[in-house]
């Protein structure tokens, strides 16, 4: 599988950006109440993107032989992914008013950004590791 490392990595990055981007767009559509139909299609697109993203992530762990709960930065990434999925789910179904939605949406985006920094630096503290 090492032969496909570059391609899988590129797909992973692409889908990571797409996931964050779609979360951002979905939130804007929701907050601006710009149309239910479009919002629904973005929601389904997000499902698809997240599924491919997770597939690529699993493939990468297998190729590079680095695993959550063995490598610290991957453990952090994995746990934050759970938080991200939880928050994303709330933004899809469980918010009661725009204010609550905006809060959860903002938290989800911040989580995504932090996951991105952990992935980029390969450090558990992500962007904050630059401070130490």
């Amino acid at each position: 599988m090492i032969e496909f490392y570059d391609e899988v990595r590129q797909v992973h990055w692409l889908m990571a950006f797409a996931s964050g981007g779609l979360l951002f767009i979905h939130g804007l559509i929701h907050l601006s109440q710009a149309g239910h139909l479009f919002s629904t299609s973005v929601r389904y697109l997000r499902y698809g993107v997240d599924t491919v993203l997770i597939t690529a992530a699993l493939m990468l762990t297998n190729i590079v032989q680095q695993f959550p709960f063995i490598d610290a930065w991957l453990t952090v990434k994995f746990l934050l992914l759970m938080v991200y999925l939880f928050l994303s789910h709330i933004t899809l179904y469980n918010t009661r008013n725009p204010r609550q939605y905006a809060t959860v949406w903002g938290l989800a985006l911040m989580t995504w950004l932090f996951i991105f920094s952990v992935a980029k630096t390969h450090q558990s503290w992500g962007i904050f590791s630059l401070l130490f």
Binding site: M1, I54, T55, M59, N62
Partner: protein, 754 residues
């Protein structure tokens, strides 16, 4: 004589003739199966293997999972090789290398020139295809050169099944745990068994010119290629299919639109006011358990699939030391049958009192007792298998309490008896609750009778698994095993599915009983006309003679005929789902029934027929095109039906609840999309790639580590993740839906109850 009576008589006649032919074919296989030698001697009179050693080798093979780890004669798992084909190729290459070195002074066969290679191959073919078995003495005599080659291959296998570092990479590729067989003597006799299965694939029948396995597998080195009969019967098989479709088309053209329509649909749901009896309520726990089993089955499927890319570990964890591939695959396949069967058992128990309105004494006790028995069987049988695969049970206890190694029939004999008794108890429970209705003359007696007969057949035909014993010839075990598997899935399950769906519609008042009865009886005749003798298509290469192959090819093609028209049924069911306002209550059970029809066409019909004619199966048996059919047909048809029935019964157990339909809708589409992705992104392309390899290089290569460890194969296996994930989400949503009916029920009219 009424139409219904005529149909019943014709069905009885058809079953009598079909089972007669099937039993005659069994006798043919028994007479002409590859002989088990008393002794295998070298040409200078030394004993190479005895019968006892070969038979003990088979017990060893069964103990570590048998068909669940690699395959024999194409039947079994797909990650490790087919041991018969692998042994044959290794033995042939060892002989060629030996001769090339001795006769031409080159290091290996590949280094000899083309002329030399052709000469050696000619010699090889005449040596190995010649049958040296003496029926009077029961002795097979082998040349000294051949014995040398066999010793080489035997050593390789003994290393492979140990923890020797030289074969570690291969073990990982085959998803085998280290020390699969712990005892060195057991490893030696295991290789004797593998040798015998390979011998049957390359040795001509006495006075014949094709091998015991009808020249299977494809092996260019010795001209193992499909015999003429295989081309002939494959062509006829397609012709029969077309003829069947034509005839059926004519029947539909003539009868379409003549069915008696229900004059007035009920204004309200006739089953709405049905008050569940205590025994009907007691079936609820069956549905909870089946959901748990279903989720565990999916998890085990994911682990089993993962072993294909990381043979012994799971994301860095050495899982094969605790749960080796052989055991995860065993449990995955067993659980598939168990949870689906549980759905049907529960439906039978629910429907009995619902139909008759009669709750026999101690019925609830019986339902609860059966449930406990089933739990004990699952836990006990699985525990025994785990000990067997870890080689801690001992060969003497394996057959009764461990792992029999026969795919779909691999629980220990003790547990098989226990399960059989459990199925008889189930029959009694269903039968006694239906008895008042069956005894009373009424219009619906026929359809209820057919439904009950299909449940009787499902129960009793498990008895086929009890026919063989520890030392029964493998060809005969295969014969009886397919009685169980094939006659269930392509015979009585089909009848049960058709009858139960039609019956439910009659109870809802959507179709007249008479119309449903005639339609179900006709469908049963059609299914059984191909289904019973069609069993033989699984037996093309297990030592069957040509007439058996011909019968299997001809009749199994007919199995596809009703599936070609299943769109009618799907559309009919879908229409009935919208027939009245109150049918919205049953929207999702009916959508699952529509999915049953869709996957019956695609999974059973298209993907089934793809591998069905003898010539196709000759090259495809045991490649990924087999699980393509297996997954889409078993889950697509019977899994979907199990879920549909579960939902239908739960609607009755909890009649006053508002269903969170969004969850169910998402679950339904996740199942269908996930299954389609699994088939189209991995199993179909990988199967087609293997088919090309099998056609071009020989069957052994399509199953070899060299082929299966290619990066592109890895990539295709990884492509299962999206489909499997979506599918698993579907199962979680279904579980959540059912759980929510109990933990946070929403009642119609908004009232909350305790």
């Amino acid at each position: 004589m009424t139409n219904v009576k005529k149909l019943w008589l014709f069905l009885a006649f058809l079953l009598f003739v079909s089972f007669g032919v099937l039993i005659w074919s069994g006798n043919q296989i028994y007479q002409q199966a590859p002989p088990m030698p008393e002794k295998v001697l070298t040409s200078d009179g030394q004993l190479l293997y005895s019968r006892a050693e070969i038979e003990k080798g088979r017990q060893v093979w069964q103990s570590f999972g048998g068909m669940q780890l690699g395959s024999i004669w194409g039947h079994g798992g797909y990650v490790a090789p087919d041991w018969s084909a692998d042994w044959m190729h290794r033995e042939l290459m060892a002989l060629l290398n030996l001769w090339a070195n001795r006769d031409y002074g080159v290091e290996s066969f590949e280094l000899a020139n083309a002329e030399q290679q052709a000469a050696l191959q000619g010699r090889l073919k005449s040596l190995v295809r010649k049958n040296t078995y003496n029926p009077d003495t029961g002795v097979i005599t082998l040349s000294l050169d051949r014995v040398k080659a066999i010793s080489q291959v035997s050593e390789h296998y003994q290393r492979l099944f140990s923890d020797e570092p030289s074969t570690a990479e291969l073990r990982e590729a085959y998803a085998m745990k280290n020390n699969t067989v712990t005892d060195p003597e057991n490893r030696r006799v295991l290789s004797a068994f593998f040798w015998w299965t390979a011998w049957a694939t390359m040795t001509n029948r006495i006075d014949g010119h094709i091998t015991y396995t009808n020249n299977w597998p494809n092996e260019p080195l010795i001209d193992n290629k499909p015999p003429a009969s295989m081309f002939l019967w494959s062509a006829f098989s397609v012709t029969f299919l077309l003829a069947g479709i034509g005839l059926m088309g004519w029947y539909y053209a003539v009868s379409h639109g003549k069915e008696e329509a229900t004059s007035k649909l009920p204004a309200t749901d006739p089953m709405r006011d049905l008050r569940p009896t205590p025994s009907m309520m007691a079936t609820a726990k069956y549905f909870w358990v089946l959901l748990a089993l279903f989720l565990v089955q999916i998890l085990l499927g994911a682990v089993t699939a993962h072993y294909q890319v990381e043979g012994q570990v799971m994301y860095g964890f050495e899982l094969s030391e605790i749960l080796p591939y052989s055991i995860t695959r065993t449990w995955h396949t067993q659980l598939a049958v168990l949870w689906i069967a549980l759905a049907w058992l529960a439906t039978g128990l629910y429907i009995g009192p619902a139909v008759s309105g009669y709750e026999p004494p101690y019925q609830r006790f019986g339902v609860n007792l059966l449930w406990v028995c089933l739990l004990v069987i699952v836990v006990g049988a699985f525990t025994g298998q785990w000990f067997a695969v870890n080689q801690t049970l001992g060969l003497e206890h394996n057959f009764w309490f461990g792992h029999q190694g026969w795919e779909y029939a691999d629980i220990g004999r003790f547990w098989q008896w226990f399960l059989f008794i459990g199925l008889l108890l189930w029959l009694c429970l269903v039968g006694r609750s239906l008895w008042p209705t069956l005894r009373q003359p009424s219009e619906s007696r026929s359809i209820i009778g057919l439904l009950f007969l299909s449940t009787v057949a499902i129960g009793l035909f498990f008895g086929a698994a009890l026919v063989w014993n520890e030392h029964t010839h493998i060809s005969m075990v295969e014969y009886w095993r397919w009685w169980l598997v094939h006659l269930w899935v392509e015979g009585f399950f089909e009848v049960f599915a058709t009858a139960v769906i039609a019956f439910l519609f009659t109870r809802l008042g959507l179709i007249p009983v008479k119309t449903a009865t005639v339609a179900v009886l006709f469908a049963t005749i059609i299914f059984m006309s191909g289904g019973v003798i069609g069993t033989l298509h699984h037996l093309y290469f297990v030592g069957s003679p040509t007439p058996v192959l011909a019968l299997g090819a001809s009749f199994s093609a007919l199995e596809v005929v009703p599936l070609a028209y299943i769109g009618f049924e799907a559309y009919h069911n879908y229409t009935l789902g919208h027939a009245t306002e109150w049918m919205k209550r049953y929207r999702w059970p009916i959508m699952f029934f529509v999915a049953v029809a869709f996957w019956n066409l695609v999974g059973a019909g298209l993907f089934g027929f793809l591998i069905n004619p003898p010539l196709s199966l000759y090259y495809m048996q045991g490649l990924n095109l087999t699980p393509l059919h297996g997954h889409t047909a078993l889950f697509g048809v019977y899994g979907m039906l199990g879920i549909g029935l579960t939902l239908f019964c739960i609607r009755g157990i909890k009649p006053d609840l508002i269903w969170p339909e969004g969850t169910l809708k998402a679950s339904f589409w996740c199942f269908n999309i996930g299954l389609a992705l699994m088939a189209l992104l991995t199993l179909l392309p990988l199967g087609v790639m293997q088919l090309f390899a099998s056609l071009n290089h020989g069957y052994w290569y399509a199953r070899s580590a060299d082929f299966m460890q290619q990066p592109v194969v890895d990539l295709l296996v990884w492509m299962r993740v999206p489909g499997d994930t979506i599918f698993a989400v579907g199962a979680l949503l279904l579980a959540w839906f059912i759980l929510s009916l109990w933990i946070k029920p929403k009642y119609e009219g908004g009232q909350q109850r305790g």
